[in-house]
Amino acid sequence: MKLQDIIFLIIFAFLLWQRKPLWLIAAGLLCLLFAISLFAMHIFFTAERLIEYAFFLLLAANVLLVVRKSIDMQK
């Protein structure tokens, strides 16, 4: 596990703890944008990692949104 993975896990855990799906989406989209510039500069390893982070952030955001909506629907 590299340093960047540890940083990602910390941010990911913080965002999940905050339970703010929009922050997760924003973080996921930012990862995609950063990955574009890194791929363009041929910095592949970090760019590939950013894509994976984006994937997990967006997935978590989606699940969180669905859970929140289903709770809303029960009220």
Binding site: P21, L32, I36, F39, E48, I51, E52, L59, L65, K69
Partner: protein
Amino acid sequence: MGGFAAPFAWNYYNFALVFFLGRIAHLSWEVVQRIGYLLPFLILGVFCPMYCYKKIFPHHSFSLLAAGLYLLNSYSLMVIGGGQIAGIGFAYAFLPLILLSFIKLIDTITKNEVQPVQMFKVSLQTSLLFSLEIFFDLRFAYMLIIAAAIYLLLTLSYIFPIKNLSRLLAALLFVFIIPVVISAFLHAFWLLPTLVSHQSPTAALSSVYTTQNAVQYFSFAKLEDTISLLHPNWPENVFGLTHFMQPEFLLLPFLAFSSLFFISKKPQRNTQNVTDTIDGYTSWWQEKIIFYFCLLGLIGAFLAKGANDPFGGLYLWMFSHVPGFIMFRDPTKWYTLVAVSYSILIPFSIRSMYDWLSARRKFSIFNFQFSIRPKLFNLQNIFLLLVLGYLLFLIRPALLGKLTGTFQTHHLPKEYARLASYLETQSTFSRTLWVPAIQRYGFYSSQHPEVSAYDFFHVTAISEVFGHLDNKATLPLLQESAVKYIIVPYDPEGEIFLTDRKYDQKKYESTVIQLQKMPWLKQIKGFGKIAVFEMNGAKDHFWSTDPAMHIAYQFKNPSEYFLSVKNAKAGDRIIFSEAFDSHWIAEINSSQNIIESRNYHKSFTSFLLPASGKYTLHVTYEPQKLVTMGLILSGWSLFMIVVIGSWIIIVDRKKDI
């Protein structure tokens, strides 16, 4: 060398259409290609995603963009360029419509006030569409079931805890059991022989198709490719040739997942129908649909990368343990889920951004107020132009005519036409062995089947083929297999003789020279760059180890032959040069006496004659009878569905009146 093909007969349409248009209507291949494949594909490919988008967002006017994204992305263009329109192409084009039908079905079932008859009506419609998808490609039907299951789970999570257990059971019955059972009846023509004969569909396939190593080999796409809807072989479409990531494609997932920002903070909770939507707000249902397509896109991207990181082992595990997953040796098929997801999400995001920009006619910079008045050159239109320019930029190789395959005109080389004419004049049965592999223009017929040396010797390299050809045991094996001609193909498309994925003339020449050195082969001149070698002693389709026996046979179809045998002795063996299959039987003199097939030399089908004398034998492949029975069952099932469907429609109309 022959085999059990019933499990793959669902794609019979591919051959039937060519047969009817070409052989019966006598249309040229150019016309058959356009009328039979290209035109219906384009119509379906535009209509289905447009209809799907229009049904989800009836107040949005960007449905043409949905069609453009679905039809003109790198994956679909590679499918078209690879000549896969028949089957995969149709299944791909048709998929959004069937997915919408499943969504409608699940929504109908989860509503409280709907009657079972209404549920059955929608389930019947979905079943018919689902059956049609199986007809095009079984794998796409499998993907649809998974996509429907995800939507059902999402819908159930919205109405959780499920107060009524019967509603859950109804969902399982109407969404999965009824469509699968109806499809099974409609596809009885290939399912019946497959199930009754107890032959595994994978038994006919080599390890190249069924092992985890094969999946790892075929996992060309990485997560950055799949999430960007970028086919790993784009744009050359050369098998295995991948490039560095093209970062401009990453804007596609950015646009797609931006849609999550544009769902209303307070959607209308009590609206389940799309028609209840008010402009500018997403309804409860539309919001669920956006969540669903985001989830579908992410799952599709994860599966399409196959055995690559992250969690590549999960795909390998599913390939070995999840029923039906064995069909996805090539994980790129899962790109379809990403394509259908983005064809909904991206137009929605763009429309939402367009609306957002339209609402901002005034803006300020350093306390200076600006107002945008022009109707044409305003922010929203400039944004739209930029997006369109970007989407066209992504598919620039297609626009500049750089795509290969079916996007380019190909002419049949004269050599191949000459070889076809030559083989057609040969009246006796014989096989052609293509070294190292069959070329796409190579001629074959029931009288002269073609065999690839790679498949025949179960190898993957030319050197290994020659390792077998140099073996003394190979000559009798080829003779017994009725191989009369060994052919080195002319490779104008550069697909066979490759070094580092480029055509290698030396490889071709070396193959020809090595065959010329073989003393038991005689080269026949007159076929240009196709090197044709004839070998002596090739057996007929039916032959015997007893030289005194005389066999005359008549071919009716590939599963039925009539034999007249003279001078037979008790215990003589008739060898049928087809791969051994215990389902071949020989009926003696139109009686009920049957000779069962036996394995000869661990390769061929053979029949042991019980007594001396003359015989009239009727050799048949038993599962073929089940195909006929299955066809009748399929026909009756279709008839019954039409009758029941019509009855429901009539009853519904009477109620309305």
